[in-house]
């Protein structure tokens, strides 16, 4: 992701969505609506964090593994070194 001439390096769209997803998830669970919702005497605020314990790394692993899948599915014209752009 070089994008020369741009002020910012471009982040992969899926990585960007992943980071934004974490950001909004945290915001949602820190809003006051969740403070008094209790499950097994434990606030939903805590359950939100506990779900994140496995959700974030699991999604992170899936993103990286599928990244490899994409790179291994190179189109034939790329593997032959032929440019698609005419």
């Amino acid at each position: 992701m070089t994008n020369k001439g741009k002020k910012w390096y471009k982040i992969r769209p899926r990585d960007g969505i992943f980071l934004l997803g974490i950001f909004f998830y945290v915001i949602v669970f820190f809003l006051p609506w969740s403070y008094d919702v209790m499950i097994l005497n434990v606030s939903l605020v805590a359950w939100g964090a506990y779900l994140l314990h496995v959700l974030v790394p699991a999604v992170g692993i899936l993103l990286i593994i599928s990244e490899k899948d994409i790179s291994s599915r190179k189109p034939e014209h790329m593997e032959a070194g032929i440019s698609k752009d005419k």
């Binding site: 992701m1 070089t2 020369k4 741009k6 002020k7 910012w8 390096y9 982040i11 990585d15 992943f18 980071l19 974490i22 945290v26 820190f30 403070y35 008094d36 209790m38 097994l40 005497n41 434990v42 606030s43 605020v45 805590a46 964090a49 506990y50 994140l52 314990h53 496995v54 974030v56 790394p57 699991a58 999604v59 992170g60 692993i61 990286i64 593994i65 990244e67 490899k68 790179s71």
Partner: protein, 486 residues
Amino acid sequence: MKIIELSVVVIYLIALIILGRVTQKRISQSQAGVEEYYVAGRNVGTGVNSLAMMAALGSGGSFMAGTGTAFNLGLPFLAWMTVGSIVGFSVASVLVAKPLRNSRKFTVSEFLNDRYGHIFFKVAIPIVIIIGSAMYLMSQMTAGGLIASYVTGLSYQWGLLIITVVFILYVSMGGMLAVTWTNILQGIMMVALISIITLGGIFHFPIRWSEFFANTFAEQPMLGAVGGTMPITAYLGAFVTWAAAICVTPHLIMRIFTSSNARSAKLSMNISMLMYGSLMLASTFVLVPFVPLLDSSLLEATHSDMWLLLIVEQFFPAILVGVITAGIMAAVMSTTDALLLAVSSAFAYDLYKGVYKPKATHQQILRASAIFTWVIGITVMFITLHPPPFLVVLYTAAVGFMVAALFAPLVFGIWWRQANSAGAITGLSVGAVSFMVAFLGFELPYNSEILIALPLSIISMMIVSVWTQGPSQNMLDRMDHYHQDI
């Protein structure tokens, strides 16, 4: 004295020293001595690095102290503090893993020096790392001293001395290679033993888990409530501190430099956290309900960080308690040795070679590293002999201080082409100073200093970078290269 437990622990400690000696021989015979010492030859595979990363993060503060901390400070606080570091690894795998690994540097300081090329960073970054990591190191050494005291029956001070000498020995001999090998061993032990402890707890539930768990709230009514033990600002502060910390904390981020490639680094960061998160979840929900069953006078007489061992003693025979104690000691030591190496790297590689003696030979750097490891280890040990009562506050503050100072220069330096040395100097200074002012000068809620210092650091760095001349084309070309898939 607990003879069986002590025997198991002594065998384990001797194994660590032997491992240090073996790695020292390997490094002295290797052509790439410094590369072996600091980044374990850059060929650590994904599975192995995952275990080592989990071991470097999983410390006395999490696996050992988690049960007591959750009971005293409440589940919501501990949940957000723990998940902060889990999210932090995933964030770091996106934001910093590839450029750092592709740069082929040895330390974060070296990367930032390369990015900004200003003498200020050669001195300021090692100083920030030394201050932050040394405070962090103190808290881990305290946990090590407590557990050594528990096993040997000796005083805390003697326990601390024994444990300090062992890990200084193997870190000074084997460097990162020894730390990696021991972290693998420690990681395996941690996974196995936390699983065994959790299973032991499950088999010893006196009643159905849901009822057992509900009974805990009779003893500690604020266990699951928000704001019961501390304000919600503290949850957010702890989460933000750890979520940002992984990008800049040297003893964790140096695992990226040891990876065989960038993809392996990213994958191992997430795998390690899946293991860590699962273990923390299981151990919290299974073991915390056992705390009210312990005798209240025993709880009062024992440091809450050690309550886990009191629970374990109820489930298992002495020999297994010995193995478990060694495993918990492994959790403490795996963080401590990585921290010690990070601080000695800051002295030997960044200050000694980077500033004082740029033409130092590999042998001189290795010798300086060994000397600094001893000096730092013993100095921190003496301070920890009489630990201040606010150690937990210091420990999180140490991490927060490093985040406030280094996050903006590192992450914006990687992603923003306009980031320049003037902006980074400003960001680092504003972050460090504002954090210290907020921490020392104001009565803010626990952990919340970062919520002020980090935005100030980012904003000041951006303003100054925009208004001053951008970095050279040569440097930008190097950054372009670091962002490529190599």
